[in-house]
Symmetry: C2
Subunit: 320 residues, 2 copies
């Protein structure tokens, strides 16, 4: 048997797994990133974890074919270099070569969102579709496009950052230093912040009964309050869904996907978010596009990252 390792490197945690060739996870482990210890110590922890997992699963060393890593920020997959990962404090790090040195295995790296969406395209909600556009609604908003199994990266590997198109000139400050970017609204953070801000500005909400301090409100609480009949929470999700619909009205004619896969914590709002999104999108799209693509929630949950990383690495290795 042949196996692949998938690694999802986050700012807070790293998840490692060993998978078979069709994406089943045999063993996996999550551990804190502790980015302050530096890249070499982190990569040594990853190599050690892989070795332990392999022994736990009783897999011979030569049956591990390849290692795939999803890394946040800007990645050059061709050179195997992490160009810039702010949360990890990585700059121009030749991750693939370093980890290959530690493990003796071929290592392929790409941006974490791309490999998450690749996982959904290959083994999740996008399976069986040719043109998979995927979005993750998490702390921020990011996107990736997988066309017949090939990840679109564009010039300088920069395709996908639609979260930073300004949509509200009088909106919230964005992490990028500007104002009112799409992800200040369409993100888990943005959903919670809209609810908090409107309560602070004097609107009433069930959330005030649940939380003594509005700062404790999370996006999942907004969904919960909406389901309990809270008008403010319903309106926040409605506005958020419509804003995403307006963004997708540009993406659909540009790419013509046959499925849009929506993942990340913010997507757990499900139809509360998707219904207004679809309504707005149907209002804006040319007749020829309407109802000619599916809209689906991501299916692989938190493990889409390691599944995508492992399956993509297997594909790269086959082509190499």
């Amino acid at each position: 048997m042949k196996y692949a390792v998938g690694v999802d490197v986050g700012g807070t945690n790293i998840e490692c797994g060993i998978l078979d060739e069709i994406g089943n996870i045999l063993v996996k482990r999550k551990f804190p990133t502790r980015s302050e210890q530096g890249v070499d110590a982190i990569l040594e922890s990853i190599a050690l974890t892989i070795e332990q997992l392999r022994e736990d699963a009783g897999i011979p060393a030569d049956e591990i074919e390849v290692i795939g890593l999803g890394i946040p920020g800007l990645v050059d997959p061709e050179a195997g270099v992490s160009l810039r990962a702010v949360n990890l404090n990585w700059n121009q790090i030749p991750v693939a070569a370093k980890l290959r040195g530690l493990t003796g295995k071929p290592v392929f790296i790409d941006n974490d969102v791309r490999l998450y969406i690749y996982g959904e395209a290959a083994a999740g909600a996008g399976r069986g579709y040719d043109y998979v556009y995927g979005i993750t609604i998490g702390t921020g908003l990011a996107a990736a496009f997988v066309q017949r199994g090939e990840i679109h990266r564009g010039h300088r590997f920069m395709a996908g950052e639609i979260g930073h198109v300004p949509v509200n000139p009088t909106g919230f400050a964005c992490g990028c230093g500007r104002t009112g970017c799409l992800e200040t609204i369409v993100s888990a953070t943005g959903i919670a912040k809209q609810a908090r801000t409107r309560i602070e500005q004097g609107e009433t909400s069930l959330l005030q009964e649940w939380f003594a301090d509005v700062k404790d409100i999370r996006s999942s609480d907004v969904s919960r309050a909406c389901l309990a009949g809270d008008a403010l929470s319903r309106d926040v999700l409605e506005q958020t869904g419509r804003e995403l619909g307006r963004a997708l009205a540009w993406v659909v004619p540009t790419l013509s996907p046959d499925v849009i896969v929506i993942g990340g914590g913010g997507a757990l709002a499900g139809e509360l978010l998707f219904e207004p999104m679809k309504d707005e999108l149907n209002n804006l799209l040319l007749q020829d596009y309407r109802n000619h693509f599916a809209i689906k929630s991501a299916e692989l949950g938190d493990h889409a990252g390691i599944i995508g990383s492992a399956l993509w690495a297997l594909q790269c290795n086959k082509q190499a």
Copy 2:
């Protein structure tokens, strides 16, 4: 020597040319489409014209390798079928098979805008770039994306129709039956119509001195008046450029092109249109995208269609 035929089928005229393998036009001819005579008569005219051109150029029949056709509307290039071309009154026409029957040569067809942009990517303003996003500003607005020599078509071959995203709910009626679509503003037609409408609504313009009837104003007149110092014309081109910039602010992060090629009659306004477009785009784009792609006018003029059709057909034939 090997040669290719490029054919650009329009609602009004058809242009045929014989080209060498690097896209030089040896001979070409344009003739009226006369769509009322039906598809078979039109294809017979094309076959006859190709034969005449070949004789004029003194090329032996067996040195014509392949024929490429650009057709307006929705095209299935894999099946070689024109799915729908409203101006030609074509529906589900197996154009490639029919023309192959008449000529004995392999025939490849695609949407005319895609092959126009393919021509620019292969032999025009996009030459040397990997991710070419092209727009044609003509009667309408359409776009195509050519990635490392491959045309992106998307699901149902529908990618590229960004002209029909509504941007102004109180704007002009659009040919698609809706209101305020992008192409009601960003098109040669839209530029002329904005000027005409504002004059009819009481604004003053140099164009009133030039034209007794505002209906005679064309987009090129608006450029001309702008260069002659007309404030209204300047503002029309400025608003049009900014609207295009706002559209491109979604396209750039979605695709990450390294060049945007702008062609069609409306693009002849040049910097009068491109300057406000770039300004708006730079305001909206994330720092990482700014100044990392070129913006260029199309270079092949009216012949991009036949050049693109011929070069693309050669590429298809090589891969077949």
